[in-house]
């Protein structure tokens, strides 16, 4: 029975306390980021799976497999998909909080603050990188 006052952390927080779960979660999170970005572009440009398949020179079922995120798609496949949708992927990493790795530290423009970079690189054992896809439309 779940009663008031028993909740301290979320189920996901508890789940991610296990390092192996954490590793699997970051993989799934990244796959989802990418497939969601592709779907958002397809919706925005009103491109169907069949149309995207045609642009990529593959079958619609191949596109479905990509969108399912079940098979490990390659970086090349992602680049091809996005280019077919008039976009490209740019990559950034977020530094995660030591005490709660589900929280990204808010460090704007990390690359251009070397003193901050040094500070955090000295704690490399808890600095985890992740790829944040940001798509930019390409000029036609």
């Amino acid at each position: 029975m779940i009663r008031k006052g028993q909740r301290m952390t979320t189920k996901l927080d508890q789940f991610l306390q296990n390092q192996e779960h954490r590793r699997l979660y970051e993989q799934e999170r990244l796959i989802l980021e990418i497939t969601e970005e592709i779907c958002a572009l397809m919706n925005e440009k009103d491109v169907s799976r069949a149309e995207l398949a045609q642009r990529l020179g593959c079958s619609p079922s191949n596109v479905s497999q990509i969108l399912d995120g079940d098979n490990n798609f390659t970086v090349r496949t992602i680049a091809d998909c996005l280019l077919a949708l008039g976009a490209r992927l740019s990559i950034a990493s977020e530094r995660l909080c030591e005490s709660n790795p589900n929280v990204a530290l808010d460090l704007p423009d990390f690359t251009y603050q070397p003193e901050v970079s040094m500070q955090y690189s000295s704690h490399s054992q808890w600095v985890t990188s992740e790829i944040v896809p940001r798509c930019h439309g390409l000029a036609a």
């Binding site: 029975m1 779940i2 009663r3 008031k4 006052g5 028993q6 909740r7 979320t10 189920k11 996901l12 927080d13 789940f15 296990n18 192996e20 779960h21 699997l24 979660y25 993989q27 799934e28 999170r29 796959i31 989802l32 497939t35 969601e36 779907c39 958002a40 919706n43 479905s64 969108l67 399912d68 079940d70």
Partner: protein, 131 residues
């Protein structure tokens, strides 16, 4: 003795920038969606947790292969587990997304009895918490 409505609190599954995802608790104290998640292998449950967190941050899932409407207010998250398809039903109430039930499914269409179970849990949850 059956619990009073104000005794039951929904467990928080995850919390994001826009939505908090909680799990419905039945009058008998069981929590079908959590029981389902806890019974999965870590690699399978991770796929669902990642979807929940994504929804919590964006208040939507763009990929219709991962999130689709079953009927009226009831939606389902879809993931492909190692051996079977994984489904978790839910409904939205303001900035809360309430998980209802979970089941394994290989075919795309969800069986009426699963929809019926989700509807029944949703009605019970609405009676307990309003909405």
């Amino acid at each position: 003795m059956a619990p009073r409505a104000d005794d039951i609190e929904r467990p928080v599954v995850c919390s994001g920038k826009r939505i908090t995802v909680v799990a419905a608790v039945r009058r008998n104290g069981t929590c079908p969606s959590i029981q389902f998640l806890d019974g999965l292998s870590p690699s399978d449950s991770t796929k669902l947790y990642a979807l929940f967190q994504r929804y919590a941050d964006d208040a939507r899932i763009n990929n219709g292969r991962k999130f689709k409407r079953l009927e009226d207010n009831i939606w389902e998250f879809k993931a492909r587990g190692r051996d079977t398809g994984l489904r978790v039903t839910c409904y939205r109430n303001g900035d809360l997304l309430i998980l209802l039930s979970g089941f394994r499914k290989n075919e795309d269409a969800t069986e009426p009895r699963e929809v019926s179970l989700a509807t029944s849990i949703m009605e019970e949850d609405q009676q307990l918490h309003g909405g």
